[in-house]
């Protein structure tokens, strides 16, 4: 019941966010100097030729008209076509999204897989040498530029040892093993800071929970520390963990833009930077639309699961 109402409310909030976000991008792109019609007209364009092209692609309409039209089509699932190559934007995105999602998902799995145990280990031994070592390592991880880590990984594991490919991506459905081999280094490069962030956040949340009166009482009652940790400690930090995960998805989708450049991965990140530099407005717009929806839905999911785990959240 609570969850149902929360879902409805949140879904209603999502719409204006998407409208504002896409409007911001649309506005930015139209402030950009340069004329895509000129770019399409090739060598020796006559002003008439340019005008024809501008009309053909609807670039001569007023700004708000163009945005409204785009939004109307987008709402109906049509993200229009690339200005430069005439490819449907939705198919461009569909071709590339799997590559990006694979490395982001893999990075997230690695980030949580290593971050959670490390965070727990540090929190349980709060103040010990292990904790201090882990905390320092985590600070280092958070400050590590992911594309620098990527360059180091390529030099060592692709060029010197030849264990992994240095570039590209493979289809997860067509060649799953090959796809994972290609995704391994980019995912590790992305996961570096994720592991650190997850471990850090989990550690401090867990330390706080373990220091509460309630847990101290349990301990006084003679419950074993392991039991306290698993039954009470982790349950209480699950919400923190979820929030961090949501935040990480957003951050990973951003970091992947540079990582895809380092590894020449045809993903949404390289698509958006290429299209932005080449002023292919509909593609930039389409990718932003999809990414923003992805981020918002992730946050929504996080909130819903958090509400299910902790009834206090939905009441607040």
């Amino acid at each position: 019941m609570h969850a149902g109402r929360l879902l409805a409310m949140r879904l209603l909030q999502v719409v204006p966010i998407i409208v504002v976000a896409t409007f911001v991008v649309f506005g930015l792109l139209h402030l950009t100097p340069g004329d895509p019609a000129m770019m399409l007209a090739g060598d020796n364009p006559t002003p008439q030729h340019v005008a024809e092209i501008r009309h053909l692609y609807g670039l001569d309409r007023p700004f708000l008209d163009q945005y409204g039209l785009w939004l109307w089509h987008a709402a109906h699932g049509d993200l229009s076509q690339s200005l430069l190559t005439r490819a449907p934007v939705s198919s461009l995105i569909l071709q590339r999204l799997p590559n990006t999602l694979l490395i982001v998902a893999l990075a997230l799995v690695l980030g949580l897989g290593f971050g959670i145990p490390l965070g727990i280990a540090a929190a349980v031994r709060n103040g010990s040498a292990v904790d201090q070592a882990l905390t320092s390592a985590a600070s280092l991880g958070v400050a590590l530029p992911s594309f620098w880590l990527a360059m180091i990984l390529v030099t060592v594991f692709a060029l010197d040892l030849n264990w992994f490919p240095a570039s590209g991506a493979a289809s997860l459905l067509g060649a799953p093993l090959d796809a994972l081999r290609h995704a391994a280094l980019p995912a590790i490069a992305l996961a570096g800071s994720t592991v650190a962030e997850v471990a850090r956040q989990l550690r401090s949340a867990l330390i706080e929970v373990l220091g509460t009166q309630y847990i101290r009482t349990l301990r006084a009652k003679g419950l074993s520390p392991t039991r306290i940790l698993w039954k009470h400690g982790l349950k209480n930090v699950a919400v923190t963990l979820l929030t961090v995960t949501g935040l990480m998805v957003n951050r990973l989708l951003g970091a992947t833009v540079v990582i895809e450049a380092v590894f020449a991965i045809p993903g949404t990140g390289s698509l958006i930077s290429y299209s932005a530099i080449n002023k292919d407005f509909p593609v930039v717009q389409g990718v932003v639309f999809v990414l923003v929806i992805g981020v918002i839905l992730t946050n929504l999911l996080v909130d819903l699961v958090a509400a299910a785990l902790d009834p206090r959240v939905s009441r607040a």
Binding site: I17, V20, L29, L31, A143, F147, R251, G254
Partner: protein, 276 residues
């Protein structure tokens, strides 16, 4: 008083950042050579007595470029964080103080901006403003502003509901006076913490944008564009990617360490506990 004792990490961070400031101010006396003087007869030399960190693909001294990169990076970070503060703080105070529909609309706008992966928004803004250090950092500032606004808004909400603000309003203090006298001083501490952390984010963003060729433009050296150059020579001269990478890592680490320490020191809940 004991809380002000510097932990080792924060002390190292302060020392390192101080060192960077000295480097920035005194680059031209400290650096062994010009950062832009080319010598096409001495390209890609390995580290040696003449050039402690070797030379780059135009025969320029890598150590000197690294040193001259410090002021560029510090300027870039400060600019971005300055923009974020100037935009974010008033906005956060405003929506938090006015409340109601202004808060509702403002918060949705912040949500929208925060739902962009940061670098994507920065690329978009750079596209609109044009390529270059200042423009790229304005873009990063715009991206960081909503984070700042959110922190300030939350703090404003807390302070606005407190007894002494209600009392001040009861005595007939105008909204501007309340904001300046009561809200800002109480919101300043989380803002300081946030600024320090944002400096680290701005540094990494500058490096990323410069790596993509959208940030600091050659021949001006920046750690990000030095890394981008080194990327092209990974097989021939892998050692070239370590100096700028380490510089970025250590600087970001220092900003973070400083931020974490300030967070503990300035935490209002701890301070209140100290007073009572």
């Amino acid at each position: 008083m004991t809380r002000w004792r510097l932990p080792v990490g924060a002390m190292l961070a302060l020392l390192f950042l101080g060192f960077l400031v000295v480097l920035s101010v005194a680059a031209r006396w400290i650096a062994p050579a010009s950062p832009i003087q080319q010598n096409l007869d001495d390209m890609m030399l390995g580290p040696g007595p003449g050039h402690l960190l070797g030379t780059d693909d135009l025969g320029r001294d890598v150590l000197s470029r690294l040193i001259y990169g410090a002021p560029v990076s510090l300027y870039a970070c400060s600019l971005a964080v300055g923009v974020a503060t100037i935009l974010g703080v008033p906005f956060g105070v405003l929506i938090g103080f006015v409340g109601g529909w202004a808060d509702e609309v403002g918060s949705r706008l912040l949500d929208a901006l925060l739902s962009f992966p940061a670098i994507v928004l920065a690329i978009g803004v750079t596209g609109a403003l044009g390529i270059g250090t200042t423009n790229a950092m304005l873009a990063v500032g715009l991206v960081l502003a909503p984070v700042m606004a959110r922190v300030v808004r939350a703090q404003t909400l807390v302070v606005r509901g407190s007894l002494f603000v209600e009392a001040a309003q009861g005595f007939g203090a105008g909204p501007l006076r309340v904001i300046v006298r009561h809200i800002l001083p109480n919101a300043i501490q989380p803002v300081i913490v946030q600024i320090t952390l944002a400096l680290a984010m701005a540094l990494l963003a500058e490096a990323s944008l410069s790596f993509l060729g959208l940030g600091v433009q050659p021949p001006q050296p920046s750690w990000g564009n030095m890394l981008a150059r080194a990327y092209g020579y990974m097989e021939i001269a892998p050692e070239q990617m370590y100096p700028p990478g380490l510089a970025i890592l250590l600087t970001a680490l220092s900003f973070n360490a400083l931020g974490e320490w300030l967070r503990v020191v300035l935490d209002p809940t701890m301070r209140k506990r100290g007073k009572s």
